[in-house]
């Protein structure tokens, strides 16, 4: 599975996620994406726009880096409905090199993705994790309840970075 994100968008998201928050230790957000080349054996997820979670939609929970409320999920679902695109939950682990989802990410984020899939079952949705220079993703394709883990993500720009 291939995914592509423009470097300008990647950097904008990273910059936004690095902002401090009053109660959360880290920020999260959503990125819209369109599934391309969908009728081939080689579909491509193309990331489009970033949607930060509003400050008031974080819950004060010291047990998690960031926890968001139902308004944040509802607003994300509305983005899916308004744009007709898929949506990826995104956050950042601020280090260089290939990042890895935490056990909490893997336990909790798929529930958020389920809600997004209800809003538009015909697009790919998922979870995206950035580091300072790479990213990984789990992708739920239309019609499949199991995510695709084996992804190849390209940050498109100067320089071109391919994470496999």
């Amino acid at each position: 599975m291939q995914l592509r994100i423009l470097r300008a968008l990647y950097e904008r998201i990273n910059e936004d996620l690095a902002r401090s928050h009053e109660v959360a230790f880290e920020r999260v957000g959503f990125v819209s994406a369109k599934l391309g080349n969908r009728h081939s054996g080689e579909p491509v997820v193309l990331f489009a726009n970033h949607y930060p979670v509003a400050d008031q939609n974080y819950i004060d929970d010291p047990s998690a880096g960031a926890r968001i409320n139902s308004d944040a999920i509802r607003e994300a679902m509305q983005v899916v409905l308004d744009t007709g695109m898929g949506l990826f939950h995104v956050h950042c682990h601020a280090h260089r090199g290939r990042p890895g989802f935490s056990s909490m990410d893997l336990d909790e984020t798929p529930d958020v993705v389920s809600s997004l899939r209800v809003a538009n079952p015909n697009e790919a949705h998922g979870m995206l994790l950035l580091s300072n220079d790479e990213c990984i993703a789990h992708v739920w394709m239309p019609g499949s309840n199991e995510p695709v883990f084996d992804n190849r993500i390209t940050i498109v720009g100067y320089p071109l970075r391919i994470t496999m």
């Binding site: 300008a8 080689e42 489009a48 726009n49 720009g157 320089p159 391919i162």
Partner: protein
């Protein structure tokens, strides 16, 4: 650990080989320009190729088609097979998917490439290829050359290398593609006669394109950060940033928007006369 053959290019960085070997390159057009590019990519160490060209070798190609020989002309060898032989001769383990057709007849594999080299004829072909690359967020490196004669003056040889980076200025933003040149080309359609093509400018342009690709992947210069539009003057033997770049008002594109990414879709057009 580098293979011994790559010892001389270790300056490209600690992980250059992985970056280059992981990349999937698409080559559209395997004539005078594309054949040079195929050969050089193989020398550099690229491993994954998807190549398109619907033509076979002709005698008139032998003045510039790298890797072709007189047997290929006699056997009407497809240019894709000549390129495959050329690449495999340098990289036996290369993965080469060859499409002996126009890319538009089998476009899906192109959408899976990490970067595309365009060595196509004409402005309309370039616009089509760039539109595809932009839809799927793929960098396109376009090269081309031409020779013009004006009156009694010596022929003028020119050319270009353009890196069309998604999100950045496209070939229309750069003024290379515009309605005037497309219309002029349309008027000449079917009436062009043989276009002047020779081996040496193609070599210069192809080498520059390969250099840009290597820098894009390895970031060895750590300076490739801006729009690339190189202008070749074959009479002076110079290749330099195009003069238009200094007047470029924005570093973003106004022609290809984020709403246009993904597969083209058909729309139902409602005939207003039938609407009650």
């Amino acid at each position: 650990m580098f293979e011994e053959r790559f010892n001389r290019q270790s300056f490209l960085g600690a992980d250059w080989q992985q970056r280059i070997e992981n990349a999937i390159v698409g080559l559209v057009g395997l004539g005078g320009g594309g054949s040079h590019i195929a050969q050089q990519l193989a020398h550099v160490g690229f491993l994954n190729y998807r190549i398109w060209d619907g033509d076979v070798a002709e005698d008139s190609n032998l003045n510039r088609l790298i890797g072709a020989n007189e047997n290929d002309v006699e056997n009407e060898a497809p240019k894709t097979e000549i390129a495959r032989r050329l690449i495999n001769g340098l990289r036996r383990n290369a993965n080469i998917a060859a499409y002996n057709c126009k890319w538009q007849d089998d476009p899906e594999p192109l959408r899976g490439c990490d970067m595309i080299f365009g060595s196509v004829d004409g402005f309309a072909q370039r616009r089509e290829l760039e539109a595809c690359a932009r839809r799927y967020l793929i960098p396109l490196i376009d090269i081309g050359m031409d020779v013009h004669s004006i009156g009694d003056e010596p022929p003028r040889m020119g050319g270009q290398v353009i890196l069309s980076m998604p999100g950045g200025p496209c070939m229309s933003c750069l003024g290379f593609l515009n309605e005037r040149v497309l219309a002029q080309e349309g008027e000449r359609y079917g009436d062009a006669g043989p276009r002047p093509q020779v081996v040496w400018p193609n070599g210069i342009l192809a080498s520059s394109a390969v250099g840009i690709a290597v820098d894009l992947l390895t970031d060895w210069t750590r300076s490739l950060r801006d729009v690339i539009y190189l202008e070749y003057d074959g009479n002076k033997g110079t290749l330099k940033p195009h003069g238009r770049l200094q007047y470029l008002e924005r570093r973003s594109c106004i022609h290809y928007t984020v709403e246009q990414i993904g597969d083209p879709s058909a729309m139902t057009v409602v005939d207003s006369a039938t609407v009650q």
